[in-house]
């Protein structure tokens, strides 16, 4: 007879693993990735590829040479995921050296110094994007138009829907909004002059990813739904007060809202741990996004809104407790 193994209960385990979740999110991003290849061609391949490679390389190197860990963590999929999400936030004509700096910020500043996966306070991909935005404002705010498959650094750039919306509000000129593509084009991403970040172009692909993640139980509905609903309501109210504000459907389909609501805000580590907390988090992000978009200096408010709320997540975790069993009946 072989030996007897003992441990404390439970003696069974579900099929879930960290890898399954991380790679599941990556699979959910594949439709958006394929769409970005379709619209941005080589540019997309270079940007996403560089971003992923740089993130994995930095994580491996930091683990091995600075932290001197025995085991590397690059196989759990989180570095690849960060790389992909960072890439999705960038314009397709961003030079390689800037992308590498972005990856360094993401992994080397926002993730590893805090203790690696599970300990970071801010979403690494968003920190990378925010840092690049501040360090390289010109390169980070010129967006190539979709459809230029073979151009990389020499791609022709254009105005994004969000830029037009911001201009409309600043100049008080609703006619600018007429230049916006219609909702279906925004949804499918095939507007002729469409410009934007790699991952933001096609709402349909992102929603497909959402459905996949919900089905695989990787995330729950609370954060994406609360963000989108809040933005819808808030921007809807603004739209009713004045025509300079775009209609809510356009607002939701433009810019990084869907990408942020589905993939960035739902990052495990930086979002609250309870359903109630997640709803509060989502509503706050929605409010902040609309405020920054409408009245802030930047056309895109999603990244900053999420980063701000990341800072509040520990507070939310501390004060928002799940419904305890037996709480309904007191004594």
């Amino acid at each position: 007879m072989g030996k007897l193994v003992v441990s404390l209960s439970p003696h069974a385990h579900g099929k879930d693993t960290v890898e399954r979740n991380m790679y599941g999110v990556i699979i959910a991003l594949l439709p958006a990735l394929l769409v970005s290849f379709w619209f941005f061609g080589i540019g997309s391949a270079i940007v996403c590829g560089t971003s992923v490679a740089a993130c994995v390389l930095f994580e491996w190197a930091i683990n091995k040479y600075i932290l001197r860990n025995e085991r590397t963590t690059i196989c759990d999929g989180s570095a690849v995921l960060t790389g992909l999400l960072l890439g999705f936030n960038l314009p397709s004509n961003l030079p390689i050296w800037i992308i590498i700096i972005g990856a360094l910020f993401a992994i080397g500043l926002a993730k590893m110094p805090f203790g690696g996966l599970g300990n970071n306070l801010f979403n690494p991909a968003l920190v990378g994007r925010a840092a690049l935005l501040v360090a390289f404002p010109a390169q980070m705010t010129t967006w190539p138009k979709a459809g230029q498959i073979t151009s990389y650094l020499d791609a022709e750039t254009g105005a994004t829907p969000l830029y037009l919306m911001q201009q409309a509000i600043k100049n008080g000129d609703p006619s600018l909004l007429d230049q916006l593509p219609d909702s279906l084009s925004l949804f499918l991403g095939n507007h002729p002059d469409g410009a934007g970040a790699l991952g933001e172009i096609c709402g349909a692909a992102l929603l497909l990813g959402l459905v996949f993640m919900l089905w695989r139980k990787i995330i729950t509905w609370h954060i994406p739904v609360s963000i989108i609903a809040t933005v819808f309501v808030f921007s809807g109210l603004m739209h009713l007060t004045s025509p300079v504000y775009a209609d809510p459907i356009t607002v939701i389909l433009s810019g990084g809202l869907l990408l942020g609501a589905i993939f960035m805000a739902t990052d495990y580590v930086t979002s609250p741990m309870t359903p109630k907390g997640q709803l509060i988090y989502g509503v706050a992000i929605g409010v902040l996004t609309v405020i920054i978009r409408n009245w802030g200096a930047y056309p895109e408010g999603m990244s900053f809104a999420i980063l701000i709320m990341n800072a509040f997540t520990p507070l939310i975790n501390n004060y928002v407790k799940p419904q305890r069993f037996g709480e309904e009946l007191k004594g």
Binding site: K3, L4, V5, V6, S7, L8
Partner: protein, 292 residues
Amino acid sequence: MTDGILIAVIVLGTIGLVAALVLYLCSKRFAVVEDPRIAQVTETLPGANCGGCGFAGCGGLADALVKGADAGSIDGLACPVGGQEVMGKVADLLGMAIANGDPMVAVVRCNGTCVLRPKIAEYHGLRTCAAMNACGAGETACGFGCLGCGDCVAACQFGAISINPETGLPEVDDEKCVACGACVKACPRNIIELRKKGPKSRRVFVSCVNKDKGPVAMKACKAACIGCGKCEKECPFGAISVENNVSYIDFTKCRLCRKCVAVCPTKAIHAVNFPAPKPKPEEPTKEKEEQA
């Protein structure tokens, strides 16, 4: 421009003065009156804040000592880290007398090494003694023996105890051990005991706490105490008692004669820091042969 500098200096200077005044008044109004002796005693204590005295930090012990001094006695209050020396100084400070205490040391009463106490199962999960103890007897057949996960090592703030990788048992460095009792509390099986350090750091103790009957204990571990009672009969000072199938040596009565060590059939009684016995000289037998 000089006007600007002057105004700035005057404004900031005034703010500074006002703030200083407010702080001064507050420190007077809200001053905490503390017996100055507490600070003096805290100063004398080692400052390790180890909790070995039973109080939270040296300040806590100082507080208790001063209160004790006012009540008439500081018996029962001692700093194990500072020992007699420091307690003497404290007693002088407070004008009190102290009883002489013997230095103590932590003793691990288990000799179930990997070789002597075979494994019968493999434990998976949180590797702490507390968790393994809750799971069952452990990885061996002895439900009283050391689990080897090092809860004692983690509890020690002086680095005085460590697990020997070959034997799997903790070993106490009696130079570093201050007998604070943290490891005693941490061990879920009460294997570690604070015993008298002994002259020249020599002591004799039963290295087993197994309460199972002899044959059962032997089956689990070759170095187990089987409760045979030979040591009890042999001891000329009545220091040994066998209860619940296990022998115990009272360290207040033990005179380190080591007669018990010789008669123990399983070598469960250990004599620590004694010189090795001298080898018998061979000449007398040769002489006898020549004479015969």
